[in-house]
Symmetry: D2
Subunit: 363 residues, 4 copies
């Protein structure tokens, strides 16, 4: 086992926690003394012990003179917990190996500097790329103070999301649907338009074999038309945040916010802009948003160029029909040169379906 | 080198000729004497020497006592050339190894039987599956007396074939377009609707770096609206067959058929059915048809369940727009249960684009 | 994440501890509650907390109602720690998923039975094969009460371990030598003949970039010829056990055993048999033995059919020479039918060298 | 199909003939006209038609204006056949695509120059590396005027070629033995020492499922001790060349050379040097030599540094024994620094055995 091997283990520990640590990043740590592992840990939930604390707790006395491998630079500021940099110094470690520096420019490098000044060896950049892959939401958020936006679509192979009569249930197969629930588990929040709530009355929760974290449910609802008996209001399974314009029935609002976990954000506008919603979510420490539609909602995100990743599920069916709804609605573009160019990151088989992951070419 | 190795070589020889032998199958042959290759050959063009003839010609005297590997059972009937079974007997070969029997039930096994009776050892089924892959058009045609129909589509990733204003040129990239020309080279014929001829005035020829075989151009044109100055009429690059209904301008017809390579087939109907076109093509020994659209034409093939393979090219662009044309037009289906279920055979990257090959689940 | 994914993580945790837990097996554990990981742990060292204890300690209150994934059946008997089965019941877990049952037939199934009777769901066999791979030494030892014996050889490509003049240093390259140190880290003990001690004066310790666990050093030394100033006597880096016959210089013995970590086992025989040594080691809870030679020692293990795996490093050099020493010495066999048949498990490139792992065909 | 695709087919055609064209190289050719293959050919045997002739014969009239793909530069000199360069000009081809230039420095580039001057386009270097792989013997011979020497060994995994009593039959398995026969088919000649002839009385012929070309049998026999009744003398299956020193029984020589296919080369020396044998073979147009042993013969080739490739078959057996014969015999080296350093080109499983191909590091 060399530095790479131990860091790989720390990354595996962190990887397992993706989706449950927000707004904190997923972090793993491994402590090694004389070629033996004496501690392993990961940050499990915001507000709880950092990865380093977990691993050093397990190491006990054997931390003295040991090397710690951490996927992210140890923190140097007092947050909900005392700084890990101080703990490392106090426990008399000999060497700290780190994959990535803290992406927050205000504090980046400070933890390592403090450690270095205590006479502890520091090495950085070990498996950096793999470690950064773990926290694409977190890095994006630290840089832009806006959530990472994933658009999710599901359609037939010819790009239809429903028949001409609007039948759309179960276009894609079981594997794709499981995969969507994994996306919900990984994202902090999920967004649909009020029409979807009225038509389908979805719960928008995560239904994996072993449960999973429910995302905050964001409803775009300019005129506060969300039915009071809808699941997102009544089921209390997760927070529901309704984004409205300024012209709403205040009486209905009062009734709704009496419901547990329901919050209404009145934006001082007639027509809600996606950008405003994203800024609000950023302020509320929401680092990631999964947009599940429908077509008009998707169109808005595309028109405002407000998305970072597009995940498309295609079922091997032909629906056809000029008037059957397509993946993206709206007026569309008139010249091909106005089309949004994407880079296809991956194409995966998913049972009978396939899944395409793409990112806009330049943001 | 064992039987498999030699047959693999015969298959490689045949594979290179796919697209140029129709209505005959692609066939390769290798002659081996005392562990040395003494002859190799392939059938290059209908009317010319069969693969066995080529290979035995090369072998000369060394054919005596040799083994011949052929991808398809040697013929036993007098066609444009004398039967290869007789040639094998006359040349005193010792052993015949065959991948597949003749798919024509009327003659299947007869060539091998004659060879066996002459005291020559016969072995069949060696690499049969690979050999049959070479000739999917031919086997389909032998079985159904109808051409193998390939639908080809090209769209943005969201299933749009043009913008709302109709701009559609160059949606897909260079690699995809090259691949389409390879398809044209491999198919006996290519079909478009008359509207495509009027709007785009395409040549429908094969433009590969080294040329390639041009398919017969089939125009679906109920009312004989094909412009007299269009490329498919004037360029004489390949046969052009216009399929019309019974109500056409006979004067225009007379002018058109004076053009070299132009033929008009008047079907005795008001509205042309795809099935009738396919039967006509089958009678004319056309073993394969590439349908290049547009959306209405594709819709017709789908509605009549008249296609055997669907090849879709997707460009990594978002076009969007409710009214922008989709891959398949028409009225479409009202219930999801009526959707055509496909099996996805393969997904390939093609430059920036990707290509999906699928087949209808049951025919 | 499904059962397999969580168990895979538990296996990764265990895998990192191979070599440091003996005579205990490597075990990993993961606790999951509502699709979130709430605890992770591994058994790090004999005498310390079991994997389940580590993982449940991290989980705290969130263990209630959770699922625990363990690579090995939880223990049910009081050892150095209270039984993990009781802890799981006490912490009110809901479900226990296990890869393998306890290999000790006396207690196998008892831990799970106790857990089941407490009304907790139990599932077994998840990724069993992968989990068992972790502990091949442990399973072998549990079954036979004898250490797992690995013979290690290093030679030129033509099977020579030295030149005719006996020069043998550094035949193999750096990567192979690192790999050997990994083997030392993983094995409980290492064995050489006294001639090797006299000639090379080796330390027989583990020298990995980050240290590593030193194996117990076993010297086969019938007549107690180990030099009093040799490294294995003086360096105190690890226990040194000298195996002698009954005819030894008792005065020298008294001097030697005054040295720290040196033990002498007098076997009541004139000529030491390998089988006797292995039985003694088994009694002393040594679960694995790495035999590093030389040729005569290897020959003894082969002649008595006392080895479980053969690991050979080949350097890409030709040494040649009739009289140059070969991998295995001794008298050898006279008939080919007496040769030991091996199964080759793997062949790996190792820098310029290659490594062959093989096992005797029937034991 | 592009240039690479067509050249790949030409290479496949050539590959199938490896071993049967010596002293000529294996060459393949493909003729393409308007994207259709109109001719394919390969050189089958020294003295027969060149690949270009075969392919152009098949093309007939369709050669005019076509492109020819040849794996080797067309010849420009009158040999047993008129120059292919002239034929290409005469047939009015439009373009010539070549993988490699002629390796003979005296004529290299001349064929292409003549073609170019006739106004035909020329392109070179297409898939050069793959094409050159076909003819490693030929290129070596053209450069050095000496045969390419392959040493072949077969041993147990511990480098023993026989038991102490000398039993050596069938150490390796069926797959390895088949592979050796493939080597015999590919090499022009095979060499053993007279002791092997006396002890084993081998036929040294190629026994593949479909026969194969027999190599010339070279016997190193300083004192002409080859038994008159041995197979290599009596079976007339292939030429047998006996290399002797100057002190031989002339009477026996006269009797032996009366045998069909037996030749005796008296070297004017007391002790035969390998270098002298190789020079003699080079003069006789032998481009490749397979050395099959025994140990003393191998030792001679190694000591004189007279080999280009080493192919070792290892059976998964342990033979052991200090006195059992090793792969290479002789006195050997005294210092490790004198060992011959090899580069391992490949390691392949071969049934239960494995095969290592290596080349000396610097020649
Ligand atoms: Zn911290
Ligand atoms: Zn025929
Ligand atoms: Zn326990
Ligand atoms: Zn030539």
């Amino acid at each position: 086992m060399n530095d790479q091997d131990y860091m790989k283990l720390a990354i595996d520990l962190a990887k397992a926690t993706i989706g449950q640590t927000s707004p904190n990043p997923a972090v793993g740590a491994v402590v090694v003394n004389h070629g033996e592992i004496v501690g392993m840990g990961a940050h499990l939930k915001a507000g709880e012990a950092h990865a380093e604390v977990q691993a050093l707790r397990m190491a006990g006395e054997r931390a003295i003179g040991a090397t710690i491998y951490v996927t992210l630079e140890p923190c140097s500021h007092f947050g909900k917990t005392p700084p890990c940099a101080d703990l490392i110094i106090e426990k008399e470690l000999k060497r700290v190996v780190v994959a990535s520096n803290d992406p927050n420019p205000l504090v980046s490098g400070q933890g390592l500097e403090r450690i270095r000044q205590a006479g502890i060896q520091v090495e950085t950049g070990v498996l950096k790329e793999q470690a950064d892959q773990l926290n694409k939401f977190f890095y994006h958020y630290m840089k832009k103070k806006l959530p990472f936006v994933t658009l999710k679509t599901a359609s037939s192979i010819d790009g239809k999301t429903a028949t001409v009569t609007g039948e759309s249930q179960w276009i894609t197969g079981e594997e794709s649907r499981q995969d969507v629930h994994q996306l919900r588990h990984q994202h902090d929040s999920i967004l649909v338009g009020v029409n979807t709530v009225i038509t389908d009355n979805p719960s928008l929760t995560t239904r994996l074999p072993h449960g999973g974290k429910n995302p905050i449910r964001i409803i775009l609802d300019t005129h506060l038309r969300t039915p009071e008996e809808s699941q997102v209001i009544k089921d209390q399974a997760a927070p529901t945040w309704i984004m409205t314009g300024s012209q709403i029935d205040q009486e209905k609002k009062r009734r709704l916010i009496k419901q547990d976990q329901v919050t209404i954000y009145e934006l001082p506008v007639d027509k809600i802009k996606i950008k405003d919603v994203l800024h609000l979510l950023g302020e509320k420490l929401v680092t990631s948003l999964l947009v599940e539609g429908g077509a008009t909602i998707h169109e808005s995100f595309i028109k405002e160029a407000c998305f970072d990743e597009l995940i498309m599920y295609f079922a091997p069916k032909i629906i056809g029909g000029e008037k059957a709804p397509s993946i993206f609605g709206g007026i569309g573009i008139s010249k091909l040169s106005q089309a949004i160019h994407m880079n296809i990151e991956s194409i995966e088989r998913m049972g009978q379906d396939f899944k395409v992951t793409a990112r806009p070419e330049r943001r």
